[in-house]
């Protein structure tokens, strides 16, 4: 069974790249372009992992994350944050709020895929 991944990213080029990369790595990918859609989709379809960009219109990644963690049904879904440039406090804030891991821009696609894989593996072991 292929894991389903929800990708929320507002910039079309990065969204396309992440989508292709994860598809090539054998996952089912759904991509949305803003925070609200991400939250809606997460609640409806309960993906196995959510990849959230921090800077997004309508709802920021943090707001989506907070909402996900408050909802009984989506609390368990692992979340991977994508943050712009190395900003330590953002990363810490994200991890404190319950994100499982993070990727900072600029990132390499291979690194991203590797992180997705480890997060999913960790979940399986539990």
């Amino acid at each position: 069974m292929n894991e389903r991944i929800l990708v929320a990213e507002d910039q079309p080029h990065i969204r396309a790249l992440i989508q292709y990369k994860l598809r090539n790595s054998g996952y089912q990918v759904v991509a949305v372009e803003d925070g609200e859609a991400a939250l809606k989709n997460a609640i409806e379809s309960k993906p196995d992992l959510i990849l959230l960009d921090v800077m997004m219109p309508l709802m920021t990644g943090f707001e989506v994350l907070a909402a996900l963690k408050q909802n009984e049904e989506t609390r368990q879904i692992p979340v991977l944050l994508v943050t712009a440039q190395s900003s330590e406090s953002e990363v810490l804030k994200g991890l404190e709020m319950g994100a499982d891991d993070y990727v900072t821009k600029p990132f390499s696609p291979n690194e991203l895929a590797a992180r997705v894989k480890t997060v999913l593996m960790r979940r399986k072991k539990k």
Binding site: E36, P57, L58, M59, E63, A84, Q85, S87, S89, E90
Partner: protein
């Protein structure tokens, strides 16, 4: 008898004509200067990566002060959106100015506030502070509520300045909606030039826009008439007025809806003046005066893109009250600082900005009003050269239209915040229509301000009703 009348009216008409030419020449100069300033700003600004910088923690911390008076309907929502801004490090102080409604209790309930032992140092004199509140919840740790006895907006702002921890203070209206990067954008001039002591952002009208979670996500025009007229007016005031004055370091107003100040400059000036309804303009004028008296280098700037959205009055009654208050504020500021007029010591303020505000902004409506009366009088006396009068009226109209269209042009050359061609067409159309009725109405309101001030001795604020953004968006 007829000859005397003819002479009187006739010379008044000549006076009005001369005045009219002067005013339009001034507007033309301002429009051209604004155009150059905006172009320079736009070019300079493309090289700032706000998306990255907004996450920097090295940006200087800011205290935001939002005074609230009887705002129980909106205060929670607006505070919440203030707490969500994107900026390195900032505090929010909401000052409850002795509201008669539930403003304080709503806040206490919503943000789990407790009475705090925070030391309050009354550097600026204000009405009595009844208490300071902070939140029990760690996520609201940068929120403070100051509860004080009623003393007006300036008084509330002064109390907020007393409680502010940081060197930069941002004063806003309780119902202002700031865009996410607005704080950073208005902070930038301070970081580029150490001598900047105050910066104002542009104010735009939110009626008709879609607001979600305290953010404006779709910019559109209202379906009601009055707000659209005001959009054109705001373009004229901000884009083709303040931008030009900014270029000459002669900016005399920073809108009370959104302005950033160095706290040290505010304390030097002893804060806002509590005895005027035009406290925002009075403060900036006074800052100019102080700095020029001391011959210290300084700059007061206007930044055209940190956007503050505000709800404009939709009923003529409320709008009339607002304009009446603005005009009284302008009058009071000029009466208070009349000594700066034509005083060479005050540079561009004394020689250009002050005269502009006195003759064009303050007295303009009065002169225009008297012009209409004179024409009427001449018509009754049967000495009106109808052909001439009509022609004059036509020219005046066309110039009114020209400057409105010019302001829309500036918007389109720069920020283009209204994406739909339909909205642009509407704005242009309203730039024409406003000269038939709306313009005369605003003149009437402003003339009434003189009456209220000098004859009735009115000195207070007129109340403003707010709908609240959530409701406004839903309706």
């Amino acid at each position: 008898m007829t000859e005397v009348l003819e002479f009187m009216f006739g010379s008044y008409i000549y006076f009005v004509t001369a005045f009219f030419i002067g005013v339009n020449a001034t507007y033309t100069i301002l429009l051209i200067r604004s155009y150059r300033e905006i172009l320079a700003y736009m070019r300079h600004n493309t090289f700032s990566n706000y998306r990255v910088m907004v996450q920097s923690e090295l940006t200087p911390p800011v205290t935001i002060i939002a005074p609230a008076y009887n705002e129980e309907a909106t205060v929670v929502e607006s505070t919440r959106s203030l707490l969500k801004l994107n900026y390195g490090n900032y505090d929010v102080i909401v000052v409850n100015d002795g509201s008669k409604d539930e403003t304080l209790n709503v806040l206490r309930r919503e943000f789990s506030l407790f009475p705090s032992n925070q030391l309050y140092i009354p550097t600026l004199e204000t009405e009595r502070v009844r208490g300071i509140y902070k939140s029990e919840k760690p996520e609201y740790r940068n929120l403070m509520v100051v509860d004080k006895e009623n003393g007006g907006k300036a008084d509330a702002l002064n109390a907020g300045i007393n409680a502010a921890r940081y060197e930069y203070v941002c004063c806003i209206d309780a119902d202002s909606l700031l865009e996410e990067e607005a704080l950073l954008r208005v902070m930038k001039p301070f970081l580029e030039d150490e001598t900047v002591i105050a910066a104002g952002g542009i104010v735009r009208i939110a009626n008709g826009c879609r607001v979600v979670n305290g953010r404006v996500i779709d910019v559109a025009l209202s379906t009601k008439l009055l707000p659209i007229f005001q959009v054109v007016e705001y373009f004229r005031a901000f884009l083709s007025g303040r931008m030009a004055w900014h270029g000459m370091n002669g900016l005399m107003i920073i809108s009370g809806a959104f302005g950033m100040f160095k706290k040290s400059a505010l304390l030097e000036a002893k804060g806002y003046n509590r005895h005027t309804v035009g406290e925002d303009m009075e403060l900036v004028t006074r800052l100019h005066k102080i700095k020029r008296d001391r011959k210290e280098p300084y700059r007061i700037v206007f930044v055209p893109d940190p956007v503050c959205w505000t709800e404009a009055p939709e009923s003529a009654r409320v709008l009339a009250r607002q304009r009446n208050r603005w005009h009284r504020g302008l009058l009071e500021t000029i009466l208070l600082h009349g000594t700066m007029l034509f005083n060479r010591r005050y540079g561009v303020i004394g020689s250009a900005a002050m005269p502009y505000f006195l003759f064009v902004e303050l007295l303009g409506p009065l002169i225009e009003f008297a012009g209409y009366l004179a024409v009427g009088g001449m018509f009754v006396a049967g000495i009106l050269d109808v052909r001439m009068a009509v022609l004059f009226f036509v020219v005046a109209l066309f110039y009114g239209i020209m400057f409105s269209v010019g302001a829309v042009l500036l918007e389109e050359l720069s920020f283009q915040r209204y994406p739909r061609p339909r909205d642009l067409a509407l704005l242009l159309a309203f730039g024409v229509i406003e000269n038939f009725g709306y313009r005369q109405l605003t003149i009437l309101w402003r003339v009434k301000a003189f009456w209220d001030y000098f004859v009735r001795g009115v000195r207070s604020w007129g109340a403003m009703q707010r709908k609240g953004f959530a409701e406004a968006a839903a309706s």
